[in-house]
Amino acid sequence: MKANFKYNIFWLAVMIIGFVAIDACEFLGIINAFIENMLVTIGINIILATGLNLIIGFSGQFSLGHAGFMAIGAYATGIMTQTIATPLGFYLSMVVGIVIAMIAALIVGIPTLRLRGDYLAIATMGAAEIIRILINNLKITNGAAGLFNIPPLVTWATVYVLMCLTTIVTVNFIHSRNGRAIMSVREDEIAAEAMGINPTRWKLAAFVFGAGTAAIGGSLHAAYIQTIAPGDFNIMASIAILIIVVLGGVGSITGTFVAAIVLGALDTILQNFGTLRMIIYSLALILIMIFKPSGLLGNWELSFKRLGTHQRKEQSIHE
């Protein structure tokens, strides 16, 4: 119990130090608007990719529809904050977005999660397209033109705090009885079922949870960028999140963080190269996939708990 407390305090300290560091750089003028934009994009991508990693890496279900749930969050915020343009209105809209996204995930998940592999990927991709086309044709969402002048209710600090919160919630969820049940379904569905675990239920739990985090990312995106259009949430947006997950390592939250930061930085640095940018970016992806097919970190996870016991473990493996 005491060790757990120490461990939690340690992580809290890491998060506070990160916050203070960014704040100091901002104050000293090291971070300009351009860099800040990059940091916020990275933060939002981490939120989105962590949720998708839960679905792909931990429950083993290949979903290509993450941008659909992100769109629900974004539009909930875009529409609601135009009438209630206060921070409270923003958080309210975020909650509404999460709830709608989760309900949508339930409706999509119950029939599609019976499918496996490629079929599930296609079905979730279709579901995301349905969401996008609905948004494209509704009056309230202003159709294909999208929404603009969304009140800027989000700063980098909001994104940072929410990034920390969603990560904590996701990691806590994974490292629990529920998370283990989800991973057992990924490992062997038939065996999990024979152990009394209902695979459909746990796959659905992961899927719905992931959709909720996608909605958070969407809300932040809408309030920070201030303009959204249905085209922002097409299949390419889903794939962009997928790239972060696969590149960082399927089943590694640490990897998701690293990949989101590396790709975000790479994207910003390569802006100077004009059109060459897309070639270098693609090349980097191909090289990583050739030399590290399991992603940058595989399923390795940063853990302060483990550092102490590492030595002992190494020995027992060599015995």
Binding site: N172, F173, R177, E187, D188, A191, M195, G196, N198
Partner: protein
């Protein structure tokens, strides 16, 4: 005679035109060790799959006798049947390979511990208590079967014999009333088989459960079981004690063919 635990009456399974299991009636009693033998393709594993709900029966009734009365298992999903107290191992080992030995066992305990979604997310003290309880129970079980030293290793790293043992431990972690073992000695050397024989006896003795065993290794079967069912071509050929079965002409014929 002891009271019955699970009965299957006239169960039939057709795969298209093929009858894999035809009109088989079996009963497994409390705290009994039963063997299920037969030539390859006799329908032994299919019978296991029918009883554990992996494949639904075409017709027939499966009933479980519990303290609350008789419960029909027809049409239930495997997870529900597992929760009702039937656990199993698999012919081709199905462990959660990437997960640690400890996690393999803790996963099997999922249904015996309540841990709310919110409790796990907000890490309330109750969460740590439940986790500690679960871990302790799993470690105890691992200690009984001499697996403590490998508790932190991924299941895939274990040697074959140990993987088989872990699968039995995992099945026991669900607190079953009835344990199905599907060819536990397959691919084992004589020494490992002898270990397994001791293990099966120990499990039945310590956990007071019914064990049903599919096995081709006759040294193991004849050694441990109290009663045997012999299947051939999906039908029940004989039933009796090991001694009776060894001298049953129909069984000898099924295994060795007609006397010339």
């Amino acid at each position: 005679m002891s009271s019955p635990l699970l009965t299957a009456q006239q169960i039939v399974k057709n795969f298209g035109g093929l009858t894999a299991v035809a009109n088989v009636s079996v009963h497994f009693d409390q705290n009994e060790l039963i063997g299920l033998i037969g030539p390859n393709g006799a329908g032994k594993t299919t019978l296991f799959n029918l009883l554990t709900g992996v494949t639904p029966v075409t017709s027939g009734a499966i009933s479980l006798y519990t303290d609350q009365g008789v419960q029909s298992l027809n049409g239930k999903r495997p997870a529900e049947i597992a929760q009702a107290g039937l656990s199993r191992t698999f012919q081709n080992i199905r462990l959660f390979k990437e997960l640690s030995v400890l996690d393999n066992v803790r996963i099997a305990m999922t249904n015996h511990y309540q841990e709310g979604f919110l409790a796990s997310i907000f890490r309330v003290p109750k969460f740590y208590r439940t986790e500690a309880d679960m871990t302790l129970a799993a470690q105890k079980l691992l200690a009984i079967f001499d697996l403590t030293s490998v508790a932190d290793q991924p299941a895939k790293n274990l040697p074959y014999g140990i993987q088989r043992r872990l699968e039995i431990v995992r099945a026991l972690a669900t607190k079953p009333k009835l344990l199905f073992l599907d060819e536990p000695a397959a691919g084992m050397n004589p020494e490992e088989t002898a270990d397994l024989t001791r293990l099966i006896r120990q499990v039945q003795h310590d956990f007071h459960i019914t064990i049903v065993l599919i096995e081709h290794d006759m040294s193991l079967v004849m050694n441990v079981v109290e009663r045997l069912y012999v299947l051939e071509h999906g039908a029940l050929l004989a039933e009796g004690t090991p001694n009776e079965i060894q001298h049953n002409p129909a069984v000898i014929k099924a295994y060795l063919g007609d006397e010339a």
